[in-house]
């Protein structure tokens, strides 16, 4: 393993995740970088189950389970209490799914970001409500099958761009990451820990049952998401300064889509549309990152 990969394990075996779960890999990497002096807030999501039922706890840090839409507010409350007790060095992290972040929890996250609360908010994004059995969320990509977007009526419209929403709050640090690139993820957590204010890290986390892939394909598919530019890995400082952290490869999106049962109904013209949008978004991101390089 690479040099910056911490040895200490703060997530123990015996958890209740599915095989190949991107969300559990994300937690493992994140906690390694967060370290033991951390309080973890978990709203309703897969991790409500994964962490173990009462009285068990698979993490070596305290977990506060909280209501679905409250991760941003709950993290703010823990931060306030710790600050009043003088524990300003203790890190407060929220670890929420895409439903709890993109949809029902957006308001409390926006409130926390607008107040620039000193927290790190992680969204492990598996692109649907997987814990309740694969229903579409605001993070579900265009064209995907879910149980509420059947093949005859797949998800219309693009995935909500959470990074832009957070960058629009001008918080000091926003980043995307991918469980297929753990060194990059860990570096980002380490970066976020050193910055005062609201930090948001959006982690692509495949869900084998929801994406209709086999569990051993999880990391491979995640890697393709970034290499095909479907999920670029980048970071934004102060809502202004963009850096692309993983270079994509010249691979068409069909190579990413074809692995996944949730996209198998797509026709060639629909794949072409997705390719066009991916190319368009990439050009915008590239322009933003170029502009900043010139400005700096």
């Amino acid at each position: 393993m690479r040099e910056n990969y911490p040895r200490e394990e703060l997530m123990m075996s015996g958890h209740l995740a599915c095989q190949g779960c991107g969300g559990s890999a994300a937690m493992r990497h994140v906690l390694k970088a967060m370290g033991p002096d951390t309080v973890c807030i978990v709203p309703a999501c897969c991790w409500t189950i994964i962490s173990g039922n009462f009285p068990y706890n698979t993490l070596k840090v305290p977990i506060l389970h909280t209501a679905f839409e409250t991760a941003g507010a709950a993290a703010s409350g823990v931060r306030a209490a710790l600050d009043m007790k003088g524990q300003t060095e203790t890190q407060v992290m929220a670890f929420a799914g895409d439903g709890g972040t993109f949809d029902i929890g957006l308001q409390s996250l926006s409130g926390a970001a607008e107040r620039n609360e000193n927290i790190i908010y992680f969204c492990y994004d598996n692109e649907a409500y997987m814990n309740t059995g694969i229903q579409r969320s605001g993070a579900t990509p265009e064209g995907a099958w879910t149980t509420t977007t059947p093949e005859k009526h797949p998800k219309r419209g693009p995935k909500k761009n959470m990074v832009q929403i957070l960058a629009g709050h001008k918080v000091p640090y926003v980043a995307t990451a991918n469980v297929a690139f753990p060194e990059d993820l860990i570096r980002k957590v380490q970066t976020a820990k050193k910055i005062y204010g609201t930090k948001f890290i959006h982690i692509l986390s495949p869900c084998p049952p929801g994406w209709r892939i086999s569990s051993e394909q999880s990391i491979e598919v995640a890697r393709l998401a970034t290499y095909t530019k479907v999920f670029p890995v980048y970071e934004v400082f102060n809502g202004e300064e963009y850096h692309i952290n993983v270079d994509p490869k010249e691979i068409p999106v069909v190579e990413y889509l074809k692995y996944q049962g949730r996209f198998r109904h797509l026709k060639q013209d629909e794949v072409d549309e997705i390719q066009k949008r991916v190319d368009y978004e990439w050009r915008i991101l590239l322009a933003k990152s170029m502009e900043e390089r010139f400005r700096v």
Partner: protein, 384 residues
């Protein structure tokens, strides 16, 4: 020291004297001055606390729940629609067994928009596991908030202190604010054994399987039962330290009464005036003021009302399809005894309409004119 304060500032001063560490709130009329004053107190150093200016009442209670879980004393305040927005988290705060104290200024629920007094907002949160106290005057607002922390921290259930919009919230009265040393003596610092602690990592509010959930609910009910004695003790001790003692209920001239008027919140004040007037006329009328809604003072009500001819309940609230909420609860309590009075319920004063001494006198006269109640409730003052 004595200060002339509006009810809302009496609540702010109580939170200050209780040295709360985290306050979170969202503006809503008629509660807003409570948190405006607390915000000033945090800014000018009178209160060493963090004030979270959250984006909704939902987040106010969510952040307070989290702060309380981290082991500090917390406070928030709201009204009506704000309280309704918190509903999910009211259950959460009680289920997590957190000693949060919240003020709810009783305001009518919309629509149509109304900012005036009505108890339906908090009474309809009956089954959330919160203790509820209703205050009659601004001094009782202050005293109840201080008692609320002491009660909450002993039994580990949240407490809601309720009082009427405008009749108290915006009305100035002299309020005794005890010295900080005296309050410290009464209310020790909050120092829970279990809290979010990286040196002792635990999972809070985790998934509970059917083999344990019911036992957790049993323990909440057990705490509610126990809270009656604790509330009496907290009210008695308050009298010892500050010279004003409190109970779950207050009975005035009830011993030989045939008719007992039952009131809550500010309605008790005109109630006292009329009971005194009727007593002077030789009428056997008493007053029973109820302070606690949860836990419901079943035993106290039965003790006071046993053998009486009639109980006349004034309800500034309504449970649609059933009637007055206090009266309904009182009827339930009275099934515990045989020689119970007839219960007359009058729904009046909704949406801030005045309940004057004259209204109360007419209500008593109406009840006394009947041999038996022919309805579970009557409307009083309804326009044709």
């Amino acid at each position: 020291m004595k200060k002339v304060l509006m009810g809302n500032h009496a609540a702010s001063y109580a939170a200050m004297r209780c040295k709360v560490k985290v306050v979170a709130a969202y503006p809503i009329t008629p509660q807003t001055q409570i948190v405006e004053e607390l915000s000033e107190m945090c800014a000018d150093g009178r209160l060493d606390a963090k004030f979270l200016k959250v984006e909704s009442e939902h987040s106010a209670l969510a952040s307070i729940i989290a702060a309380s879980s981290a082991g500090v004393r917390t406070f928030t305040a709201t009204s009506a629609n704000g309280l309704a927005l918190m509903h999910e988290l009211l259950h959460w705060a009680a289920g997590a067994r957190l000693p949060i104290v919240m003020v709810n200024v009783n305001r009518a629920m919309a629509p149509g928009w109304s900012i005036w007094s009505d108890q339906t907002d908090s009474l309809s949160q009956r089954d959330t596991g919160w203790i509820q106290i209703y205050a009659e005057d601004n001094q009782e607002v202050f005293d109840s908030v201080v008692q609320a922390f002491k009660l909450a921290e002993q039994i580990r259930l949240p407490v809601m202190v309720c009082y009427d919009a405008f009749f108290l919230s915006h009305t100035y009265e002299p309020v005794d604010i005890p010295d900080v040393d005296l309050v410290d003596k009464y209310l020790p610092s909050y120092d829970p054994e279990i809290y979010l602690n990286p040196s002792d990592p635990r999972s809070f509010n985790a998934l509970v399987m059917p083999d344990l959930y019911m036992e957790m609910r049993y323990k909440m009910q057990e705490a509610m039962d126990k809270s009656k004695d604790v509330a009496r003790e907290v009210g008695r001790e308050y009298g010892e330290v500050f010279g004003r003692s409190y109970d779950l209920v207050e009975a005035v001239d009830c011993d030989d009464a045939e008719t007992v008027l039952i009131t809550t919140s500010t309605t008790s004040s005109p109630g006292r005036v009329i009971v005194k007037k009727l007593r002077e006329q030789g009428r056997k009328v008493g007053l029973l003021k109820l302070r606690y809604f949860r836990p419901f003072p079943n035993e106290d009500i039965c003790r006071v009302l046993a053998g009486k001819k009639r109980a006349v309940v004034i309800d500034r609230n309504i449970s649609f399809g059933k009637g007055g909420i206090w009266a309904d609860e009182i009827r339930g309590a009275l099934t515990l005894i045989e020689d119970r009075p007839d219960v007359y319920c009058y729904i009046t004063g909704l949406g801030g309409r005045d309940i004057t001494p004259q209204v109360i006198e007419e209500i008593i006269a109406d009840a006394e004119s009947k041999e038996k109640p022919e309805s579970l409730f009557y409307w009083k003052g309804l326009k044709p």
